[in-house]
């Protein structure tokens, strides 16, 4: 059984000093309700989460104490994906037929500073300077480039595309395109990744109204359908963040297993996807995720990027709203921003960033510490 998306809402990403993270979440829910032509009282359940902006169920103080079932979800970068997965299960089970999924966040400026004890590690690991996600993504990208013949040119082109797409997206944080040379000459942060190749912690909110297909037929003429929602964690041997050691035999990443599971659920393959959102914590991971999600062979990215295949008018349009690189990373909201953007594209409402030829199948992918991934496949 499919689950329908009948309302989408976003509070702009970036910095909103006048608003709390919670208020940005509430704004996204109000926008999604307005988009669906519904009110908060129509919602039977809610799933939502944030990392640093409070318990999602406190949103009821803003939106109304209607007594609905509200479950807080916290699952790192897969918080949005896990909320959506839970909502789909609630509808498929038949217990409910309409509800809301919401993610929001507001992080302090600067890099995240995770604590070893929260990740099952001893203090020395953090004290000696190895507890940084930026290092991990650099280490993984460095090895990937070595194994698959990827050069710095590809890293630069990913960022160039991200900031161009961001400049076409009114809700994106980064509104200015950056030239190839500006990116290539930006400061080296963690070899091989430079300043403009990393996303930054940010703020924002995103929400979706989901319901059963029957309900969707009564309520809207333009429903979209979730064909698959899959969340997977790491296997022994996959190369993950915050790992003092790694096994010699490298296993498939959780992205690979989540992606395969989602394609199997949807009964389609990567070649059927018209537009995709892939986690781009940095330009290296977008390149790796292109192959891990099955959209190309390992090593093929260099050529695809040089040809512009991943641009809005290319044959593999990736991160049409500028992705995390141009929107920043409010952890609780990012995954649902991806779904929001895919819905915009499938509805044909992308304006200056609209993918041509009426895309019919969209794909979203998140990846985060300590090795989990969430994939959704959405169709008209």
């Amino acid at each position: 059984m499919d689950v329908a998306i009948i309302g989408i809402g976003l509070h702009r990403f970036g910095r909103s000093p006048e608003l709390s993270g919670m208020q940005q979440g509430a704004a996204a829910v109000r926008a999604a309700l307005a988009d669906a032509g519904l009110t908060w009282k129509d919602m039977q359940f809610a799933y939502g989460g944030s990392q640093d902006a409070g318990n999602a169920d406190a949103l009821t103080n803003e939106l109304g104490l209607t007594g609905l079932q509200f479950t807080n979800i916290w699952n790192g970068c897969a918080t949005g994906g896990s909320s959506l997965h839970a909502a789909c299960s609630a509808i498929k089970s038949g217990e409910y037929d309409i509800g809301v999924v919401v993610g929001f966040d507001k992080h302090p400026r600067g890099a995240f500073n995770p604590q070893p004890s929260e990740w099952g590690l001893d203090e020395w690991y953090g004290e000696t300077g190895m507890m940084l996600t930026t290092q991990f993504f650099a280490l993984k990208t460095q090895r990937y480039m070595h194994d698959h013949g990827i050069t710095e040119d590809a890293l630069i082109r990913v960022s160039e595309k991200a900031f161009l797409n961001g400049s076409l997206t009114p809700t994106a944080w980064r509104q200015q395109p950056l030239s190839y040379d500006e990116i290539a000459n930006s400061a080296m942060v963690s070899d091989p990744l430079r300043k403009y190749m990393f996303c930054s912690p940010a703020e924002g909110g995103a929400a979706l109204i989901v319901c059963s297909p029957e309900k969707a037929r009564q309520l809207t003429s333009k429903p979209l359908f979730i064909k698959a929602a899959a969340v997977r964690t790491r296997h022994y041997g996959s190369f993950e963040v915050f790992a003092p050691s790694q096994a010699m035999d490298v296993a498939d990443a959780p992205t690979v297993t989540a992606s395969k599971a989602a394609f199997e659920l949807a009964g389609i393959g990567p070649e059927d996807v018209d537009v995709m959102q892939l986690q781009d914590t940095d330009s290296g991971t977008e390149i790796i995720h292109m192959a891990e999600n099955g959209f190309c062979e390992h090593g093929e990215q260099e050529k695809l990027l040089r040809e512009g295949a991943t641009g809005i008018h290319g044959r593999l349009p990736i991160n049409t709203d500028g992705g995390c690189l141009a929107n920043g990373e409010p952890v609780g909201a990012s995954g649902l921003r991806q779904v929001y953007e895919i819905c915009v594209q499938l509805r044909g409402e992308g304006g200056a960033r609209q993918v041509p030829n009426q895309p019919r199948v969209g794909y979203t992918h998140v990846y985060g510490a300590p090795g989990l991934s969430g994939v959704n496949i959405i169709t008209k």
Partner: protein, 142 residues
């Protein structure tokens, strides 16, 4: 002379004429881990032994930490005195890749596949006046 103590017990054999990294190996599937784990992440067995992982390996991947990390990083450095450091995974003869600080800190000095030697080095001064020692790897001639 300042007393030197390891930053954490059980990471390496030291003091010793040839210090070794210490890890664990599963009695059932033989997979190794660093630091030593009481449980095996590969097969789930609870029977592991402490083993020496060696003192030489090859560099599997690397990066350079160019800015001073926020807490939990805890060194004696200030923003002014911070020195960039290398970080990498070193493939050990004990059958595991270990993440470590590297003595080399420029791209010209680092290359995947190069041989690396374990060193036990001072990291920072402890509040009680002793010196905390940690492990790192340095590039060596073949």
């Amino acid at each position: 002379m300042t007393q030197q103590i390891p930053i954490h017990e059980g990471l390496f054999s030291w003091p010793a004429s040839k210090p070794q990294l210490l890890g664990s190996r599963c009695r059932h599937c033989a997979e190794a881990a660093f630091p030593a784990q009481p449980d095996c992440r590969s097969c789930g067995s609870r029977e592991t032994d402490i083993v020496e992982l060696g003192d030489r390996g090859t560099l599997w991947t690397w990066t350079i930490q160019t800015f001073m990390p926020k807490q939990p990083y805890h060194s004696d450095e200030t923003e002014q005195t911070f020195t960039p450091y290398g970080v990498g995974y070193v493939e050990m003869p004990g059958g595991v890749r270990v993440e470590s600080r590297l003595q080399q800190n420029t791209p010209e000095q680092l290359q995947i596949g190069m041989p690396m030697q374990l060193q036990i080095v001072p990291f920072r001064n402890h509040e009680d006046g002793s010196q905390l020692m940690t492990f790192c790897f340095t590039a060596v001639e073949e």
